[in-house]
């Protein structure tokens, strides 16, 4: 049997990206994802609600030796600073684990996945700055 079993959940009561999802609903989504993908679901860590804190996430990834990775609702729950995101992803990979993102239906498991993720986040940020409508006259 593999030493790594199951995905550790990660939830937050804060809004993330365009979403505000109650924690119990996030837990249902993570449980459903794990059931569909045949992973054991491990009860989630709940992030602190004060702004810019990732204490729970940093704690979760500090020892993933028992798990196959972590699962969260969205890529927007990751730290907003790209440098910090990359460091966090690398720390997960170093332990033979991956990050599962339910809404984006994406698994971030290696450096190429990180590049794809970063590109997606960058485009999203730029798209948000685009005008909502264009005056024709």
């Amino acid at each position: 049997m593999s030493a790594h079993q199951g995905l550790r959940g990660y939830v937050t009561a804060r809004g993330f990206g365009p979403y505000v999802i109650p924690v119990p609903v996030q837990s249902l989504a993570l449980r459903d994802y794990c059931a569909r993908k045949k992973f054991v679901y491990v009860l989630p860590g709940n992030e602190n609600c004060f702004p810019h804190s990732y204490l729970v996430l940093e704690g979760l990834i500090s020892d993933l030796s028992s798990y196959e990775g972590i699962v969260m609702c969205s890529m927007f729950m990751l730290p907003q600073r790209a440098e910090r995101r990359r460091r966090l992803c690398q720390h997960v990979f170093d332990q033979g684990c991956a990050i599962h993102l339910v809404i984006e239906d994406m698994v971030v498991a290696d450096r190429q996945d990180v590049e794809n993720l970063e590109q997606l986040l960058l485009i999203d940020r730029l798209a948000a700055q685009a005008p909502k409508s264009i005056a024709l006259e």
């Binding site: 491990v42 602190n48 204490l55 704690g59 990834i61």
Partner: protein, 273 residues
């Protein structure tokens, strides 16, 4: 007529002082018969779920459940019990009755109670049921609440939960941002020598403020931990974020006659200047 110079009653003094100092108290249940009856119902529901005959010894059955249920099924068992027992009309009133006097002395007598009582089952060596170091208030819950934590078996050491005394918890919380890199794991390592591992025999209850840091680790004892937990807050105190507020998470249980009268009052209107 006896005169007095205090508003406090004699019975609430010791509990309140200890609670303010440590943020928790461990006391005997106020109705042992009700406790045994409540545990029996949970045992019977668990036995039905796993197709096991009703056991003769409830405590041994719960302690040894890991011999009857594989660890990968423990969450299914937990959720089944959570749904079934929370659906019983006697569950919350009985749970409250077990500690009513203590809760009223610490919180007040107009209370809101968590809508559903949580179940925790932690088998030996199971890493899927962990609740790392945390404070409930960090996740947006009200700071005006207490937790009634009820072990269904004798819990001690890693089979139990740990808590940080109030003064130490408040000290480390003031410098929480210093742990941004290592996260809550680094906080845990910093406070580990000061953690109190609660030894609570069956028949006693823990009431604590979840504002202080607490949690559990892998159960390295040979038997399974079973515990229930539920929150109370003063009916008219600030609530937490939406999903942890009145209705979604809490409901009133002991609103008093004057409150009902007050809520029914309608100011006369229709006057003209």
């Amino acid at each position: 007529m006896a005169l007095t110079d205090t508003f406090r009653s004699a019975k609430e003094g010791p509990d309140g002082e200890e609670f303010l100092r440590t943020a928790y108290v461990i006391r005997d249940f106020e109705d042992r018969e009700a406790l045994d009856g409540l545990r029996r119902e949970i045992v019977l529901a668990a036995a039905r779920f796993i197709g096991h005959p009703a056991p003769a010894d409830d405590g041994t059955f719960l302690d040894e459940i890991h011999r009857l249920v594989p660890v990968e099924k423990v969450n299914d068992l937990r959720l089944s019990l959570y749904r079934e027992i929370n659906g019983k009309p006697w569950f919350r009133p009985t749970y409250f009755r077990l500690v009513r006097g203590l809760v009223e002395s610490l919180v007040g007598n107009e209370l809101a109670m968590q809508n559903r009582i949580n179940f925790s089952i932690q088998m030996p060596q199971d890493r899927t049921s962990l609740l790392d170091l945390h404070a409930d208030v960090f996740a947006g819950e009200t700071p005006y609440q207490i937790v009634q934590w009820l072990p269904l078996v004798h819990v001690r050491a890693t089979k139990s939960m740990f808590i940080l005394m109030r003064s130490k918890s408040e000290e480390v919380v003031t410098r929480l941002k210093d742990f941004s890199e290592g996260g809550m794991s680094a906080v845990y390592n910093a406070v580990k020598p000061d953690l109190v591992w609660l030894d609570i025999p069956y028949g006693k209850v823990l009431v604590f403020s979840p504002n202080v840091l607490h949690g559990n680790i892998v159960n390295e004892e040979p038997t399974t931990r079973w515990s229930l937990n539920c929150r109370y807050t003063g009916l008219f105190t600030p609530y937490g974020i939406g999903e942890r507020s009145l209705g979604s998470y809490y409901s009133p249980i002991t609103a008093r006659p004057v409150t009902h009268l007050g809520m029914a009052y309608r100011e006369p209107g229709g006057f003209e200047e």
